[in-house]
């Protein structure tokens, strides 16, 4: 009996400890400012940090995963031919009033139509407002979507030009956020349509208050948020460019969450009793693409395998990613559904590499190795990665010359397949494997300007990815993508290098701060202990 009482008491205390509390102001220290608060115009992560607080999407990702869940659409149906999607909107969701717009409008089908049609139709009055719709363009949405129609006040039907399973994931991306049509029209009437990108009115967990450029954005909790009232009362996104200064702010407690600490600062932050680290594998991959179109040797799979064996990627990740990455083996990151852990790993084996090169008759192989001039999320220092690869390849008798251009030229030349082998990478947009495999490795992506930098063409792979694209059943798609990864593992048009890890430093009393694989920062479930 006594034992039972004690355990009951213990349980009660742990429960009391775990129960989230309301209140508090959370300051998030970030490295740069948003460019725009209209998520359809922005392409940078920093902009989405801001817009994500205010806006919702029809469907969304379960926090910390790439699994889809209902958002503003309570439910949806896909027609048998896979061409039309019917979304049923949640009722009683409101665009919350702000200092600059006092109406409290209910979310209806008109808002969905406004948000998407302004990007699709060039006749839409908002099509030319605020510059080009970059993300819509880069996801080729105009090719996918045929029409967006209102069925009734709370129902929207989207018809596609072709079967496209990843379409649903696209609807969870920031560019597909739902903005208020009434507010937009009110702005248009006043001749201030462009204010839409600076003064957002949304349905999201937080209500926008103020944006002082390059300084801070202030939000307050949306008390009637459909997904549950946020625990914190106020959210401030503060721009602190210098990483050491961000760390200093975190140490003195004037910010509570610190974005992107420098690897060198991690040890001192870890030692601080008031600070803890939160980690999440990023949805990205860094790779070396072997141009099978330009370099004859790379057409031979034995050479590609040899290069994979020759490069010590475990060593590279350890030395250059400094704990901020894991060696990658598949073209899709392990956090993505359908990741196949069983494909060949091509462990570091210079002897085997030499033997393979000899067998293929390329013992004196020489090629140019291209390295990006900029820091990317998937590769902190491409130059150093290239140097390490160069040293590894020299050990098996392969001579390489490291080449670099400014970023724009690097991308343009790469798109024209001017490289022998180039380093690059990809960050997932919509949590769908198609967004990696189809974009980066199929033969239709190998037409100039390419996004398939290896110009690798494999019929079996193409068919698997194409089939998965038109299949709506997730289990079936998973099987197809696993097979496609097997083909990749056998043929290795790339040397996959690493999936980087995102690390954030937070004050100890900040609870339930979870990182999102797609790189968003979400605060509605965060609360302060003490």
């Amino acid at each position: 009996m006594r034992k039972l009482l004690i355990s009951a008491l213990l349980l009660a205390t742990t429960m009391a400890y775990a129960a989230p509390k309301y209140g508090g102001v959370l300051v998030f220290g970030r490295s740069g400012d948003s460019v725009s608060l209209d998520p359809a115009h922005a392409t940078d992560g920093e902009s989405f940090y801001g817009s994500k607080q205010v806006y919702d999407t029809l469907v969304q990702f379960k926090l910390g995963t790439t699994i889809m869940e209902p958002g503003l659409a309570e439910s949806w149906e896909v027609s048998d031919d896979g061409l039309s999607y019917t979304f049923h909107l949640r009722k009683g969701v409101f665009f919350e009033p702000t200092k600059f717009y006092s109406e409290r409008d209910e979310l209806t089908a008109d808002d969905v139509l406004f948000s998407l049609n302004r990007q699709l139709l060039d006749t839409h009055p908002f099509h030319k407002v605020g510059g080009s719709y970059k993300y819509w363009g880069s996801m080729s949405m105009s090719k996918i979507v045929k029409s967006i129609e209102k069925v009734d006040k709370y129902t929207v039907k989207i018809t596609l030009n072709k079967r496209e399973a990843p379409f649903l994931s696209n609807m969870a991306m920031d560019f597909a956020s739902i903005l208020s049509s009434k507010y937009a029209n009110a702005l248009m009437k006043k001749g201030e349509a462009e204010k839409l990108s600076r003064y957002p009115v949304g349905t999201g967990p937080f209500v926008f208050q103020k944006w002082v450029k390059d300084d801070k954005m202030i939000f307050t909790a949306n008390e009637s948020y459909w997904g549950g009232k946020p625990y914190i009362k106020k959210l401030i996104l503060k721009v602190i460019t210098n990483s050491s200064v961000r760390a200093a702010e975190l140490k003195v407690g004037s910010i509570h969450v610190m974005d992107f600490p420098n690897p060198e600062e991690i040890p001192t932050l870890e030692k601080d009793p008031n600070i803890k680290l939160v980690k999440q594998e990023g949805l990205n991959v860094g790779y070396l693409a072997l141009n099978t179109e330009k370099v004859k040797a790379f057409k031979d799979v034995r050479v590609r395998r040899a290069i994979n064996h020759a490069i010590n990627k475990e060593g590279i990740v350890k030395a250059i990613y400094a704990g901020f990455g894991k060696p990658a083996y598949s073209p899709i990151p392990p956090t993505m559904w359908s990741y196949n852990p069983d494909i060949p790993k091509y462990t570091y084996d210079p002897e085997k590499a030499k033997a393979l090169l000899k067998e293929a008759g390329y013992e004196n192989l020489e090629f140019d190795l291209w390295a990006m001039p900029v820091v990317r999320p998937y590769m902190p220092n491409a130059r150093k990665v290239a140097e390490a690869m160069q040293a590894d390849l020299a050990k098996v008798g392969v001579k390489t010359k490291i080449v670099s251009y400014d970023w724009g030229t690097y991308l343009s030349k790469g798109r024209n397949l001017e490289h022998d082998a180039c380093l690059l990478g990809w960050t997932g947009d919509n949590g769908d494997p198609d967004n990696f495999l189809d974009v980066l490795l199929t033969s239709h992506a190998a037409k100039i300007p390419v996004s398939n930098r290896a110009a690798w063409k494999n019929k079996e792979f193409d068919e698997l990815v194409a089939k998965a694209k038109v299949t709506t059943d997730i289990a079936e798609r998973t099987k197809l993508y696993k097979k496609a990864q097997e083909v990749f593992g056998r043929e290795v048009p790339w040397v996959t290098v690493a999936n980087s890890l995102v690390v954030e430093a937070v004050r100890k009393n900040v609870m339930d701060f979870k990182l999102d694989p797609m790189g968003k920062r979400i605060f509605n479930k965060v609360w302060f202990d003490k």
């Binding site: 605020g130 450029k213 602190i240 200064v245």
Partner: protein
């Protein structure tokens, strides 16, 4: 006097046109397609085409320049390729922050620099002279971002006296009137906000003001020493003027001539050159904004901001020249 000012103003026109041509060709001669660079890995033919059209890059270079100049003459500085906001509004949003910081830095630099210079000059070869001149040398040689980090480490992290970065604590919200927080908070009678804004200003102003302070101190010292040797100083002394009168009235006014020139020149460079300080202290001013624009190859911002800053520089130089005449009536402006 008036015709002199007019002449000087007319002369600024070819200078400014020269600046636009230089900046325009520099940004356009840089290799690589800016639209592709902005879109990164996600660039595809459709999105590149649309962005190029939006930025006007699809037209020949001379047409682009012509359109640009025509717009500038109509007072339209174009729109940022990134945020699509008018460059002028982006500039005027941030300029007050830089103005406040640079003025504060200049005030600190001038007061302390001139004082140190005078004392060093009249107490030549004393301990004060040696320490302050050594300090000045160190100040000139110290990288600003490093000094900034040191100041933050000691005064904010270790001692906890001053805030680490930013312009104002988030608990304050003052209405935008001039954009200068010290003034806006006084207008709103919010003295707590004033004190907070002032505390935020101290460290960045010291970091930014150190180099000018060092230069002013050395300049004042050598100029004072020079002047103190003049015959009229001897005369003043012989007349029985007090030491203070000799220094403050007879010597200082003459010694300040070269110092004013230097201050004027530095004021211009402070506005444009507060980049490092602004980055270190997350100061939301034009320096940081311009650096971002260069990183992101935001052509309209780079072009127009350079033009605006160049105009300011020219204007400040003109004001300095006019000040000359005020300080030294011997100089007649023609």
């Amino acid at each position: 006097m008036f015709s002199y000012i007019l002449k000087r103003l007319i002369w600024t026109i070819p200078t400014l046109i020269g600046v636009t041509i230089m900046v325009f060709s520099m940004v356009h001669l840089a290799p690589g397609d800016p639209a592709v660079a902005m879109l990164g890995e996600k660039a595809n033919p459709q999105s590149v085409k649309e962005l190029r059209e939006q930025m006007g890059l699809d037209k020949p270079l001379y047409t682009q320049y012509y359109i640009y100049m025509k717009n500038v003459l109509h007072g339209d500085f174009g729109r940022s390729a990134n945020s699509y906001e008018p460059v002028w509004s982006e500039f005027s949003d941030r300029f007050p922050a830089t103005l406040e910081l640079a003025s504060m830095a200049m005030i600190i630099a001038t007061i302390l620099g001139v004082l140190a210079g005078i004392i060093s000059a009249i107490k030549r070869y004393s301990i004060f002279d040696y320490t302050s001149m050594f300090g000045a040398l160190a100040g000139v040689s110290m990288p600003v971002f490093w000094l900034g980090l040191l100041l933050i480490y000691f005064f904010s992290v270790k001692l906890g006296w001053l805030p680490v970065s930013g312009r104002l604590g988030y608990e304050f919200d003052i209405e935008h009137v001039t954009g200068l927080y010290l003034i806006d908070s006084l207008i709103a009678h919010d003295y707590e906000a004033f004190w907070d804004a002032f505390k935020h200003l101290i460290l960045p102003a010291i970091a930014l003001g150190t180099i000018p302070m060092a230069i002013i101190a050395r300049m004042t010292r050598s100029s004072m020493i020079e002047v103190m040797k003049e015959e009229y100083i001897k005369t003043a002394r012989a007349k029985g003027c007090s030491r203070f009168q000799v220094v403050a009235i007879h010597a200082l006014r003459n010694a300040l001539m070269p110092v004013v020139t230097i201050i004027g020149l530095m004021l211009g460079s402070l506005f444009a050159g507060s980049i490092l300080t602004e980055t270190t202290f997350s100061w939301p001013g034009i320096g940081k904004w311009l650096v971002n624009a260069v990183y992101q190859r935001d052509f309209p911002v780079i072009q127009s901001a350079t033009l605006i800053i160049a105009s300011m520089f020219i204007l400040i130089n003109l004001v300095v020249d006019l000040l000359y005449a005020v300080i030294n009536p011997k100089i007649r402006l023609r």
